[in-house]
Symmetry: C2
Subunit: 506 residues, 2 copies
């Protein structure tokens, strides 16, 4: 029989006469026995959980730094996670394309834009760390073969155009090349492999993980569990929890299953909760972001999201009850989502506003033909036709279009102070393309607290939990109340790379 | 040698050949061995952690329901926790005093007021549960001997006067009688007893706790740890974390140690974090409330807080830069705290606004003489004297006072829509009493998620964690973004009573 210490502090083991049997275990903090006696099914140098931007970038960076044995475990049957279906929008300051387009930008400017959207509670040090390394991450994607549209976009809340977008207008334009690069470099990739919890050592440090093999998402506990020793540590790159309806409703009871969500189904948050069980600090879980560019006429991210992200700078968003604009079309996401949710009919029911764009401008985006083809967007030859279709009062709408076109001319939006740089010469005129807008749950600002080394802090000691790193949407607090669009990919990749660097130095 | 299961799921124990030794333990979720082999130092029927409103009410209710062996453990040397130093303000709908004063109120009205302050994310079911039982809780305090001022107050965000206040203007006017009642009923009360974590059984259920005896707050791990079996379960009534600077800064980096805090020093949040380690759901930690009635001229809750809570309805809050009002003086706490924090000089430095009250009205509150005596408030015989002292522009201030007195006359505030019921006939006129205002960290809306049985939900299963109950500020999500003043005592007491009832039924 072995003596088992169930106490939280080693000092007090003696004299308590605790019998063996390991009947019960204390929470993982400060577990007191040495890591002897367990049979590891595998020993691996670096364990990465999740195959989105963060996990893939971590694996590539680890390999570059000389790691020999790097494994990525993905619970779904496919690789890429939620990253593979996002919009493929990548913000970075001081890039070749900014130089080409004559855009003056800096790390500090990007940080300042994000701090404003964060409404006072963003993590400035983390934002600066990510912005400082964003170009490196972008270069990693280019080196892997990612292809981008030959123009920059200026997304809501950004004071300048600094956003690249993949030619496929989708995150898969990054995850696929990075996955290919991982395999070229000898990274071992495992799908249907579900992380089931940590195995920790004497001082609560992470020594390894429990992994369910041959896992089938959504089925009742299939697969077999094995124990994997992670010699250098574990990088948690498990993403957000926007698809976990119970948990998002715990934060916001209005986010029921009836509210749309742009995320892949695997975004359910267990990895984050297992870190809370280790003592990680939950930060900003209450801040769940809805994408203001989504359409109620299609499921998920769909075609409209990228269409409207591209078109917002030179479009008008109209409240159908009044026929008037109701927001700066390129304000930050929270500002716009809140403004859209306030568009109601006289009984208070949702009345999704419409985004009106000149067809001549909208058609430059490849999704324009698709939104029309799939009846999630419509083309009109006259404002009368448009107004009738959406039951918008005609004269106020005509007056609004005329007023806005005056702002296009002067370059100053007297209604909402929109930055008109990207609207230059883009008058709202027939024929029009129109989509409907309604926010969808998109991104979890909350997660575990990390530092600029991608280490996870312990809630009791404030010190990093040894052997544990986290990167990407599973982390919280970086962006504060509202994340700016196209700032997630650089964050995921930079923090994934950072985790690999920290681990290889440790 | 015993076989030790380190897996998260019992099904998969067999065939993995895990050696004994209990070297490592999985996080507490779904721990798999039977609770055999541990030596309990004590066996207790009901364990209550924390001796504030929630813990005391739970103990009394448990005794009333026939519990034989109820113990309260308090980590500090004194009993009462942060409750003992709060303002002693107790909101309840449909009370004897409302009847006497002719105030029409209802449970639904109180819930509606709180939902508005919660800004869409409050927990309506919990609010209704608390409001429905608030009068019972108030009665428990009266039965125990609490004494209240013979008038109601109408606090910010409440649409009617429904707030009792202890004659000592302090929560000790409730905690002391409740503590006395506990002892009369045979509740065992232990001070210097620090909760150090849970001991859990086969399915993750709470079987008992680790308790450090002879603990001295703030010293380096003194005392001795014992194991206590809790036969009916554990009620966590451990309060908020407003005094844990690192953890509140994790949520809001602006809440540094330089920001004032009204809480007792023990409000450090370990109990909450131990529940997260068990798998409890963290809710709304990002929403930390600052009290808009606090003064920068004294530490903690001080004398001014109760003074200004009482006087806000018939006072004007003035921006010293402009000489004008800048908020509805009885808006909800967040609205007012945000408005005060926006009062800045031309360089953007904090310029605490002033609250001006007619001395004739303010002197009805017992703190008036104290705030003047201790130089945290001042009396002026003329508006000229007042304006000079605080460097407020005289003419705008005079005009503001005249304008506001017009609102007192008509009963309608055309500036900020303040409810003028309690301002009737209370004109702002010399001599004046004046205090300065600046928000202090006061209350954590966030905590563990509970249901209307005071059960703590598990983040993975959504089911209650067996043997575990929580009540009071350690719980989160009830109030949403902003808790209304005087709604904490009813919440703490009702949820404490609820926990006892659930436990005695289980």
């Amino acid at each position: 029989m072995n003596k088992i210490d169930l106490l939280g502090r080693r000092k007090f083991i003696t004299g308590l006469g605790i019998a063996a049997g390991a009947a019960m275990v204390a929470p993982a903090m400060a577990v007191s026995e040495k890591a002897t006696g367990i049979k590891w099914d595998q020993e691996i140098e670096i364990v990465i959980i999740g195959s989105g931007f963060a996990g893939l970038a971590a694996a590539i960076e680890a390999k570059k730094l000389g790691a020999k044995d790097v494994h990525i475990f993905e619970k779904m049957s496919y690789f890429g996670g939620n990253s593979a279906i996002n919009g493929g929008l990548f913000a970075a300051p001081v890039t070749p394309m900014q130089q080409k387009e004559g855009v003056e930008d800096s790390v500090e400017r990007m940080v300042a834009d994000q701090l404003a959207a964060g409404r006072g509670i963003a993590d400035e040090a983390l934002l600066r760390h990510v912005a400082s390394h964003a170009m490196e991450a972008l270069q990693m994607t280019l080196d892997a073969g990612s292809e981008y549209h030959p123009y920059l976009q200026q997304l809501g809340g950004h004071s300048v155009a600094r956003t690249y977008q993949t030619t496929v207008s989708c995150g898969a334009g990054i995850t696929q090349p990075l996955l290919k690069k991982c395999r070229e470099l000898g990274v071992n990739t495992h799908n249907r492999s579900k992380f089931e919890g940590f195995l920790v050592g004497e001082k609560g440090e992470v020594l390894g993980i429990k992994m369910r093999e041959n896992y089938h998402f959504g089925e009742d506990q299939p697969g077999k569990i094995i124990h994997i020793r992670a010699k250098r540590g574990v990088i948690m790159a498990t993403g957000g929890f926007a698809q976990n309806v119970n948990l998002r409703m715990a934060q916001d009871p209005t986010l029921t299953s009836e509210v749309g969500c742009t995320n892949a189904p695997g975004a359910t948050g267990e990895g984050m909760y297992e870190m809370f069980r280790l003592g990680a600090i939950p930060v900003h879980l209450a801040h769940i972001q809805s994408g203001p560019w989504a359409s109620p006429d299609e499921g998920g991210f769909g075609y409209v999201s990228n269409y409207s992200i591209y078109n917002f700078p030179h479009s008008i968003a109209i409240n159908r009850l009044t026929g008037k604009r109701f927001m700066d079309e390129i304000a930050d996401r929270k500002t716009r989502a809140d403004a859209e949710l306030a568009c109601r009919d006289e009984q208070g029911n949702a009345l999704p506003p419409i985004l009106i764009t000149s067809y001549a401008d909208s058609k430059k985006h490849p999704n324009t033909e698709k939104v029309i083809k799939y009846n999630v967007g419509w083309k009109f030859d006259s404002v009368e036709e448009l107004a009738k279709h959406f039951n918008v009062p005609l004269n106020p709408l005509k007056a609004q279009i005329e007023e806005y076109n005056g702002y296009v001319k002067t370059g100053k939006d007297a209604q909402f102070g929109k930055n008109m740089t990207k609207a230059k010469d883009k008058y709202i005129k027939a024929p029009f393309t129109v989509v409907r807008l309604w926010p969808k749950v998109h991104y979890c600002q909350g997660g575990v607290m990390v530092n600029t080394k991608a280490e996870v802090k312990d809630s009791f000691t404030g010190e990093p939990i040894k052997g544990l790193y986290a990167a990407g949407e599973v982390c919280g607090g970086i962006h504060g109340v509202s994340r700016l669009g196209s700032c997630s990919i650089p964050e995921c990749m930079v923090m994934g790379m950072t985790a690999a660097r920290s681990m290889m130095k440790a």
